[in-house]
Amino acid sequence: MLPPSSSSRLPLLHKLFLDRLRTPHATVDDTFQAYTSLVSRYSESDYEQLLVKASKAKADGVGKWSKRERWENQLVSASHCSLKEACRTG
């Protein structure tokens, strides 16, 4: 159970998690897992309602991410290529 001072910050935490889930990123599953743990621990009474919202937010983020993944992969592979070259030469 959270102390009253921390409980008042829970809504903000929910909002931050939902915003994060809507943002495309590679580790969206980890974020969702972390949010599930948070909800089950501190907001068990609203578990289903909050998880439905989170699932929608996650779907939004995953949709955006899947469209951009190839570009992100290109950026990452460009970095890795250069790193390999750097290691070889230096």
Binding site: H25, A26, K64, E72, V76, A78, L83, A86, C87, G90
Partner: protein, 234 residues
């Protein structure tokens, strides 16, 4: 066996990120990806503005980290042109500060009960009221738009006295920003694959401000060059 083989490798090969320093080729090869990425983001009829801005920010940060001034300037000017186009097309325009109406056209205020007496500041007129009075609507020029409309920046620019103080407001060096910038340089976190994207946004924005200040010191204000760039393009 694999573990033994790995342990015999030099540290740099076993742990390339820890063992090797990033070299110029790193950002250079990434820079080649950004124009296509940005073009793809801009392709839809209604682009996702936040994502476009994020990609521009990362491109500028990469160009800055490499010290590739030509790419940095290209990305910046392209970003400025995007912002100008965005603000001139979107609903942000009515919220932008209007230049003061010409005094010769505005009728003298009539003094009736309930109106502000002479000498006190009057409420600024709304666009509809100004049109009704026959005041010619003057759209803010590119130099106004370049200093970010309130809907873009989340700030009301009309509370600030003029463009000069706006510029100072946005590019004021701060210890916090410098600290974030230094940590960004140390961590080299520049992809969405890294964790903590919210922190990354702050980092990238700090980089942008830092690099922009640096280049402005050397080559003059971006706004001036961006206005001429947009004028040439249009």
């Amino acid at each position: 066996m694999l573990l033994i083989a790995l342990s015999k490798k030099p540290v740099a090969q076993a742990d390339p990120i820890g063992g090797c320093r990033l070299q110029a080729g790193d950002a250079q090869s990434r820079l080649a990806v950004y124009p296509a990425y940005i073009a793809w983001e801009l392709k839809p009829k209604t682009p996702d503005v936040v994502r476009v801005q994020a990609v521009y920010a990362r491109a500028i940060a990469d160009a800055a980290s490499l010290g590739d001034v030509a790419s940095l300037e290209t990305f910046w000017l392209s970003y400025m042109a995007f912002l100008v186009r965005l603000t001139s097309l979107s609903s942000a325009l009515p919220n932008c500060p209007f230049p003061p109406p010409p005094p010769s056209i505005e009728p003298e205020p009539t003094h009736r009960e309930g109106h502000a007496p002479r000498g006190l500041p009057r409420r600024p007129k709304l666009p509809d009221e100004r049109r009704a009075l026959g005041v010619v609507h003057q759209e803010p020029g590119p130099s106004h738009l370049l200093f970010f409309c309130p809907t873009l920046s989340g700030r009301r620019t009309d509370t600030l006295p003029n463009a000069v103080s706006l510029q100072e407001h946005f590019f004021k060096p701060a210890d916090e920003i410098d600290a974030i910038y230094r940590s960004a340089l140390a961590s080299q976190q520049l992809t969405l694959r890294d964790s903590g994207v919210e922190d990354l946004v702050k980092v990238v924005m700090a980089r942008l401000s830092h690099e922009r200040r640096r280049v402005e010191e050397a080559q003059g204000p971006f706004a001036t060059r961006a206005v001429s760039f947009v004028a040439k393009a249009s």
